[in-house]
Amino acid sequence: MDLHELTISSFRKGLLEKRFSALEVTRAYLSRIREGDEKIGAFLSIFEKEAEQEASCVDERVRKGSELSLLAGVPLGVKDNFLIQGTRTTAGSKILSDYKASYDATVIRKLKGAGAVFLGKTNLDEFAMGSSTENSGFQVTRNPHNTEHVPGGSSGGSAAAVAADFALAALGSDTGGSIRQPAAFCGVAGLKPTYGAISRSGLIAMASSLDQIGLLAKTAEDAAILFSEIQGGDAYDSTSMPDALDIETLLRPNEGDIKNLTIGIPEEYFIEGSDAPVVRGVEQAIERIKSLGFKVKSVRLPHTKYALSTYYIIMPAEVSANLARFDGVRYPGIPEVEENVLRLRDLYFKTRGKGFGAEARRRILLGTFVLSAGYYDAYYAKAQKVRALIRQDFDAAFRKVDVLLTPVTPTHAFRIGEKTDNPLSMYLSDIFTVPVNLAGLPALALPVKKYTVGSGEFPVGFQLIGKRFREADILGVGRMYEGSN
């Protein structure tokens, strides 16, 4: 069994044909993590015993010939902003270093029901705020393709784990590109579903009108399988939509229907300032899409250039509200603060001052500013109106085409430390991913070709953006693209 070649569908086949047991595969992953993660830093915690137990249960079911879900025994990484009951859940922040989750996130509950195996919790930028996984309160994660470079972020631990064969797939969250950008940097597939497609109950909130749960996997097919198991409405998240997706076409796309889709190329995403290898890679992807027989059209999304400012006003505003509850009282505090502070006011100030890292503090202050008296209309209210225009752009484009193809990032993975001193330059690298979140659309990042760790190449990705709740379109196009490799 070659972990590098293993996919969710080939794992299931091998399991049912008894070519290997779930326990063997789980142990193989755990030993790879033990040997290799010191260099990468993808995991914050590992559930060795629980993972082996769950895998053994699946093997027992295989022996008995019981029915198995599509994800039975599949070893997964879970970003550390998902709650798994009774386990430490930090969101990458010192302020939650002693927090144990008191319930399961809805997606965790679904995955437990499906018999998926959780290998461990993966590293992230603090509260999912960052594009490099350098902002974690605990460790820096490195890109498996070149350990001097970042894996992207904020789901950098999950992306690195899939790329390094530490997990077969992983859960992530995407507020402004946090799944798609690390997927592109690490050469794996990353799906950010439609806003409302997956319940977010039990995901630690960052910016609630933008946050979406999604996943990192090796192929578009694997992404479709994992997505089909975790999607769906839920009473615990009133922004989630019940029965909005057609699971049958998601899992078994009709090639004829997919081929009839028109692909749009938005001019505004091919601007100066992108690195040559990235531009070449995306052009290569467009050529391949054309050679598969897809009709390709140029479209306009005129407000694209305003998306970054809009995003970096709305997101911190919501961050400042969501992170207000971390005050040293409602969640376990920081021992060094608690021991030395007697006044409540000091407890708030010191817990939040010491518990939040520099980027979290910056975003809370920025959010406080744009929401404050006298500036609310100029910044926050203005940004909400521009957000409406950005969404209208997409609506107009989707009257002409079915799927949009764009770059994911202007550059490939940058060096560790390269952008930490200049937050604005870090923010600018999100230019091609944030419009999707502002409009609530689904998007899939795929590697232009197959990248193998150790080849010395920097992966380049491209992005397929779909209509709301039409994940089947982008995953279908993605599967045809991969099939032509």
Binding site: R352, A358, S372, A373, Y375, K382, K385, L424
Partner: protein
Amino acid sequence: MKKAARCVRLFNSDIAQRDEVVFLYNLPFFGYREGVLERKDLEKLAELARIELPRDEENKLLRDLEQILKHFDELKEIDTAKIPPLTGGTDLHNVLRDDEAAQSLTGSDIAPDQFPEKHSGFLKIPPVFE
């Protein structure tokens, strides 16, 4: 203090003075004008957000925030006078359910189990009354 006192007086008095309330709401807290954020503005923000800032970080933070706010100025180019704001991620409205008892998210003893400190049946938290 002065501002708070004025608010109280307004809210207690005639509703006809509402315009003045709106005016108060629009009164800027900060001195931020045309790209200059001052140290006292940063202190005010930190006060509102209940965050103690490390002294040695303040200058850099000021510069970073100024640079970011300056970038936002590009939004002024767009005429949004007739555009209704997009206030959330979905078009869903009024998601309601029947008022029926159902299984709660977790058993009643699970949340206390995760509490860091307990003392003879009580959950221990920092003092919140002064």
